[in-house]
């Protein structure tokens, strides 16, 4: 059911780079490298460039929903021009399912599943890779979180930005982090009744992070804009508040919220039940880690408990063929992603001897901007940590792994049987073994293991995913050569 594999090898036409992802980091890297004269292939899962941050429908970005529109317009205009002049090959709607690197090249296998009956595989070989694969919402389980109508804040945002659909007439936004604000504001602007924003942390903690705010007037203005929009729609932001349960039989009907004390523990016995159609919830972000892991890049858990790629000042990873930029190197937002992407594109140009003259000062300034934005991100992580009390909210029958429907009790049972890390808990309980391969539940499962075993949080042991996205078996078979005839005879 798969068509032939086109081989897009371009090594004979000068230096080449494949950029995976066309969000803020990927677009910036592609434009920078292509402008320096490198042949660039951009592979992106999205139908249109922009990633999650600049996700848009056929009519383009919406002035009332999107931010940094001028930055996108500039990058997008240059991106399109470079496509037209043949400097960039753009493959939208393609999902990378594996990659390999050797001492001199990198090969990426992607699948275009847009024709569901006939997915197409594409293989791209180039000199270097830039991984700009982004991030997704981090989730914490709570009773009822698997009810239809409970969704991530990112889902509410993507439905709004990408499809112009408001998720429901009555929405409650909850979790932690500044991302809750634009989502609530966007929903309100487009006609949802947002019954409140329930933020687990307390912004008073910014007082301990003032140095990181220096020079970030753009970020502060952005946050002020959201708060103003929320005030205009009479939406209250309640701090130190958390959703402890979602209720409903076949779909969400109400949520229960509680207050948290200064230590982050549930305060008192007051519980408020609020009727809603949709709960949009998120506790920060998780960096996409499977492609850097497949490339063998050294990883580390950043201060926000996310597994991220380690990069140097040039955005180079421990794999000499691979650079990385944006959220996959640590969660920090779109402006940081653009700075890192640009620097990664310039670094590829430098290693192939195509550095553009007169750019040293501009790149130095970008590197300074990047470092400043990283310090801001670290401060943000300190203000908006995951509320540790979440493990008190779950019940024995609360589902943790949504795919395989594995409960808290089943994970505890695996630990009781001797499992001490994500991998062994997965093998015993099936948590993380389903379609999403643990992307949604690995963090929560790792927290439960750490708590029950009394070990530090270990995100690494469950993160390796040899096949990054599910693919038809026929396609997998077609990717590898048939065994030679002699081998087949031996097999017979």
């Amino acid at each position: 059911m798969t068509s032939a594999t086109p081989m897009l090898s371009m090594t004979e036409i000068g230096p080449t780079v494949t950029v995976i992802g066309a969000g803020p980091a990927g677009l910036a890297a592609a434009v920078e490298a292509a402008t320096a004269g490198i042949r660039v292939t951009v592979i992106d899962a999205g139908a249109r460039p922009g990633g999650q941050y600049w996700r848009h429908g056929p009519a383009g970005l919406d002035a009332d929903l999107h931010h940094d529109i001028a930055l996108f317009t500039d990058l997008h205009t240059r991106f399109q021009r470079l496509i037209t002049t043949g400097k960039i090959t753009y493959l939208p709607g393609h999902q990378v399912w594996t990659l390999t690197t050797t001492a001199d090249e990198a090969t990426v296998h992607a699948i275009d599943p847009r024709d569901v009956a006939q997915p197409v595989e594409v293989t791209v070989t180039s000199d270097y890779l830039v991984l700009a694969v982004g991030a997704y919402d981090r989730q914490l389980p709570f009773p009822g979180w698997d009810l239809p109508g409970v969704m991530t804040v990112g889902a509410a945002q993507s439905l709004l930005k990408g499809s112009g659909v408001v998720v429901g007439p009555r929405v409650l936004v909850a979790g932690t982090g500044p991302f809750l604000l634009p989502v609530a504001a966007g929903l309100a602007v487009r006609g949802s009744r947002v019954v409140g924003v329930y933020e687990a942390n307390d912004p008073i903690k910014w007082l301990g992070q003032l140095p990181a705010l220096l020079g970030q007037s753009r970020k502060i203005r952005e946050a002020a804009g959201y708060l103003l929009a929320l005030a205009r729609h009479r939406i209250r932001v309640r701090h130190r508040s958390i959703v402890v349960a979602a209720h409903g039989s076949l779909r969400l009907e109400a949520v229960t919220v509680a207050r948290l004390d200064r230590s982050g523990a549930i305060k008192g016995s007051i519980r408020i039940r609020i009727p809603v159609d949709v709960l949009a919830v998120g506790y920060g972000f998780t960096a996409q880690s499977e492609l850097p892991l497949l490339a063998g890049c050294e990883m580390h858990a950043t201060d926000d408990q996310t597994l991220s790629v380690i990069v140097d000042d040039q955005q180079a990873t421990s794999n000499t063929r691979v650079f990385a930029a944006g959220e996959t190197t640590g969660i920090g937002g779109a402006q940081l992603a653009v700075a890192e992407g640009t620097l990664a594109g310039a670094a590829v140009a430098h290693v192939v001897g195509r550095s553009v003259d007169g750019q040293a000062r501009r790149l130095d300034e970008l590197a300074m901007q990047r470092d400043q934005l990283r310090r801001f991100a670290v401060a943000l992580h300190a203000v908006y940590p995951v509320p540790s009390t979440w493990t008190d909210i779950v019940e024995a029958d609360t589902v943790v792994c949504r795919c395989e429907e594995v409960t808290v009790a089943e994970i505890s049972e695996a630990v009781a049987l001797g499992a001490r890390d994500l991998r062994s808990v997965k093998l015993l309980s099936r948590a993380g073994m389903g379609w999403c391969q643990g992307r949604e539940c690995a963090y929560a499962t790792a927290c439960l293991i750490a708590q029950q075993v009394g070990t530090p949080l270990d995100l690494g042991s469950g993160a390796g995913r040899p096949v990054a996205t599910p693919i038809p078996l026929g396609l997998l078979a077609a990717t590898y050569p048939e065994p030679a005839e002699t081998d087949q005879q031996q097999l017979n």
């Binding site: 999650q52 429908g57 009956a117 997704y136 109508g149 969400l252 795919c403 379609w435």
Partner: protein, 89 residues
């Protein structure tokens, strides 16, 4: 507005909308029944990561409703369990 079919209903969509977005706009929040506990599921992550919104499109099961772009005449059906009961017979 164009339409596609969802089970025995007709669903409106606008160009560029995903199947999942069009279903939510039509007030439908679930279209899958899980294999183990027979629980309803629909959109969760909305960006292709979680695979909770699996749906059958033109007879092919396990498609992500949040990623499949709606198109005229698409035949979309709810998915029971793995969507591959045919293999279990």
């Amino acid at each position: 507005m164009s339409t596609f079919s969802f089970d025995d209903r007709v669903v409106d969509y606008r160009d560029g909308q995903s199947v999942g977005a069009a279903l939510i706009a039509a007030g439908t929040y679930s279209w899958r029944i899980t294999a183990k506990s027979a629980r309803p599921r629909g959109i969760f992550c909305g960006i292709g990561v979680c695979y909770d919104c699996l749906i059958t499109v033109d007879g092919v099961p396990n498609q992500r409703a949040c990623l499949v772009e709606a198109s005229a005449g698409l035949r979309v059906t709810s998915q029971l369990g793995t969507g591959r009961e045919d293999l279990a017979r």
